[in-house]
């Protein structure tokens, strides 16, 4: 059939199963927008292109499908950059489509011309500049294929304006075969057998589950492995929800702000089975002293991740689900009562999640998050921002729903949560989606409240408002002699902001108000924002300081459990 370039784009998107795109129009994508109403695709108009990329990312993370965002050339395209880099670091499959100035103008510094393929070269899995209409159908097909296959990631397609306008023959190409791109999916049987032998011989085995488990839909296999061989599971931040966090074998998140028992388990294990995790420095802390007693099995679909940060004993390149399926029959049923008992003892020594029963002064963010957990039964889709709030969310909410936490882990992008939650809610219209965010990060993309209203999304927003760039302040308190340089933050009245958009809101200053207000927000049919005025100088514990090894955590201070506004250096804590 004969189509314009713009029509080819939408035609291909429909065939790729895309039903929603996030974007903002402009001169170089006018043809695309002109053709759009003829196709069964819902366009979500965001208020800043960064939000378009984050929303596409949130959509992808909530649904497992490819998220799509759209921007015009020049400033539209550059505004996508942070969102694309966020998706790259967290292996999120998104396709970003940008308009480019017409072919004769390329390279002439034309109005709103920017070399977006050059700019995004290191932050995309692959990218394209399309200047020939005949290539367009193939590029679109390849882009989706590359974005979703292997280790997923963002792909950008920059389409010259004249290509969008031109007309040509369109045929949806078959699935591409790319000579330079053939991801290994099935694990090498010899290495799988070696892994099984190590697992069968281990006395204190530990699984480290990363986002790869979720990306490859390997949660059932992960659970089978853990249960069959009685292996406790620590996750990375992005591996959270790979195993329900209330599962008896779940130790929650490890790393810089992981629970002490999770980190101690890493330091004491004799066999670490890393699945779809990349040994990021926020997990490992001092690399040379990470898991010092362990042999390491590393399962990852990306060969370059194996041996990048840490030397491993058994590398297995492959898709986590397929590798685990081949591994499971070789693993003998086992129990490790002594190992689990040791972990239980460490656990009992932590004053972690029983926060609801702790005496406290003022409004503690931990209590707020824990109340969110209680109110939602661990079943909400939580979309967290970056900073202290992100860590409290990860620590005090037990995510039982698979894909129940969406957060920017690798890039740590403040301002991610609200737009990503917009994408998540559109991907999962029936789910209860909560944004948890700091007052700083929220102000980086709060213009998207308009999108929430325009799209009639029933998002619930919890601002953990401490009046600080809290994580920065915490580092300054602990490591920079309490000099709060540039971290005090004057915020607006968030309830008035919400009111300006016609969004319901409440301010919470007392612990007694927390539960009822959360309940009210959940019952409220539309979106609602809650401004939690938390203690300004609350800290995140435990914490592994810079250069320290995982077992050298600064533990939670004991009674009164939570540090107060009068601050002071944190006490070394119990046990």
């Amino acid at each position: 059939m004969n189509l314009t370039g713009a029509q080819m784009v939408w035609e291909s998107l429909v065939r790729e199963g895309v039903d929603t795109v996030f974007g903002i129009s402009g001169g170089a994508v006018l043809h695309l927008y002109h053709a759009l109403p003829d196709y069964p695709i819902h366009h979500v108009l965001v208020r800043h292109e960064q939000a378009a990329a984050h929303a596409a990312d949130g959509y992808a993370r909530a649904s497992g499908k490819v998220g799509v965002c759209l921007a015009t050339s020049g400033p539209g395209a550059t505004n996508l950059v942070t969102g694309i880099a966020t998706a790259m670091m967290d292996s999120s499959p998104i396709v970003a489509i940008t308009g480019q100035v017409a072919t004769p103008f390329i390279g002439k510094d034309a109005f709103q011309e920017v070399d977006i393929t050059g700019i995004t070269l290191p932050i995309t899995k692959h990218n394209y500049l399309v200047t020939d209409l005949r290539e367009l159908p193939y590029v679109l097909r390849e882009a989706f294929y590359i974005a979703r296959s292997g280790r997923p990631g963002p792909v950008l397609i920059d389409i010259a304006k004249d290509v969008q306008a031109a007309t040509g023959e369109y045929e949806y190409p078959p699935e591409p075969t790319l000579p330079g791109y053939r991801p290994t999916l099935v694990g090498n049987p010899r290495q799988v057998a070696q892994a099984a032998a190590l697992i069968n011989a281990a006395r204190q085995p530990l699984i480290l589950a990363g986002r790869g488990v979720i990306l490859s839909d390997a949660a059932p296999e992960l659970r089978q492995l853990a249960e069959k061989a009685d292996i406790p599971v620590v996750t990375t931040l992005l591996g959270i929800s790979a195993l329900p966090e209330t599962h008896p074998l779940s130790l929650g998140m490890g790393g810089m702000h992981g629970e002490a028992y999770a980190n101690l388990a890493i330091q004491e294990t004799d066999l670490l089975i890393a699945i779809g995790a990349r040994f990021d420095d926020r997990l490992t802390s001092a690399l040379r002293r990470f898991a010092p007693k362990a042999r390491i099995i590393h399962i990852d679909i990306d060969p370059a991740e194996i041996g990048k940060n840490i030397a491993v004993d058994v590398p297995i390149v492959g898709d986590a689900a397929l590798v685990l399926r081949s591994l499971l029959p070789l693993v003998e049923p086992a129990t490790h009562p002594e190992w689990l008992k040791q972990i239980a003892i460490w656990r009992a020594q932590s004053s972690e999640r029983d926060i609801l029963n702790q005496p406290m002064t003022g409004l503690c963010p931990q209590y707020v998050v824990r109340s969110l957990y209680e109110a939602t039964g661990g079943q909400a889709i939580m979309v967290s921002d970056v900073g202290q709030n992100q860590m409290w969310e990860a620590q005090y909410y037990q995510h039982d729903r698979l894909r129940g936490l969406i957060s920017s882990g690798g890039l740590g992008t403040m301002g991610f949560a609200l737009p990503a939650a917009i994408g998540a809610q559109l991907a999962r219209p029936d789910a209860l989606v909560w944004v948890t965010t700091g007052d700083g990060g929220f102000q980086m993309n709060m213009q998207e409240l308009a999108t929430v209203v325009q799209e009639k999304l029933p998002l619930k927003i919890a601002i953990l408002n401490n009046g600080y760039l809290g994580m920065v302040r915490q580092w300054q308190e602990m490591f920079f002699s309490r000099r709060y340089s540039g971290s005090h933050l004057l915020g607006p009245d968030f309830c008035q902001i919400a009111a300006a958009y016609g969004i319901a809101s409440a301010r919470v200053t007392e612990p007694e108000q927390v539960g009822p207000t959360i309940a009210r927000a959940i019952e409220h049919p539309g979106p609602m924002l809650i401004d939690f005025r938390i203690n300004p100088e609350e800290n995140v514990y435990p914490m592994v300081g810079p250069g320290a090894a995982l077992e050298e955590m600064i533990r939670r201070p004991t009674a009164p459990v939570l540090a107060q506004a009068d601050g002071g250096t944190p006490e070394e804590a119990e046990s």
Partner: protein, 168 residues
């Protein structure tokens, strides 16, 4: 230690940019890089000399494979391989010194490819150390201009491109 990698890639716009951007971003220490056509139309062949230990070179290779247009990476360091570089050296030469320079060229099997009023342009092919030696000997005469191509490599004997180095 210096490793020699042969990289085959689809000849697409920007592919060289992708490769060099990767080296820069990953902080790889690249000694030289040459690129040109291979025996297969549409496939370019690059020779890269990387300085680093085995783990670094393994990362270089794996990261290169992640580029969609890179089809094959082979480390030929431990193979019997022909390693060659070409240099053009324009050296100051007077009627008095010309003969001496030509003699040096003979020893190194280098060729004078251009003669000017006060200069000689010499072409030499060989391993880097041979070229280094000639340059050292020519330097006292005054080198006015020089260009070196960087190393190219080919494994000796029969070894088609598809024969070895399957990706991990």
């Amino acid at each position: 230690m210096k490793h020699t990698l042969i990289v085959l890639m689809e000849d697409r716009p920007g592919v060289l940019n992708r490769v060099s951007s990767l080296f820069r971003r990953r902080n790889f220490n690249i000694e030289s890089l040459t690129v040109g056509h291979s025996e297969t139309p549409g496939i370019s062949r690059m020779t890269v000399v990387v300085d680093g230990d085995d783990t670094v070179v393994e990362q270089v290779s794996k990261q290169l494979y992640k580029l969609i247009h890179v089809t094959k990476v082979t480390d030929v360091t431990s193979e019997a391989a022909v390693l060659r570089e070409l240099a053009l050296i324009k050296v100051h030469a007077t009627a008095n010194t010309r003969g001496e320079i030509m003699q040096l060229c003979d020893i190194f099997r280098a060729k004078a490819v251009d003669v000017g009023a006060d200069s000689l342009t010499i072409e030499i092919t060989g391993q880097e150390d041979k070229i280094d030696s000639l340059i050292a000997l020519l330097r006292p005469f005054g080198i006015k201009e020089m260009v070196r191509t960087g190393r190219v490599a080919m494994v000796r004997g029969w070894s088609g491109n598809g024969s070895r180095g399957a990706r991990s």
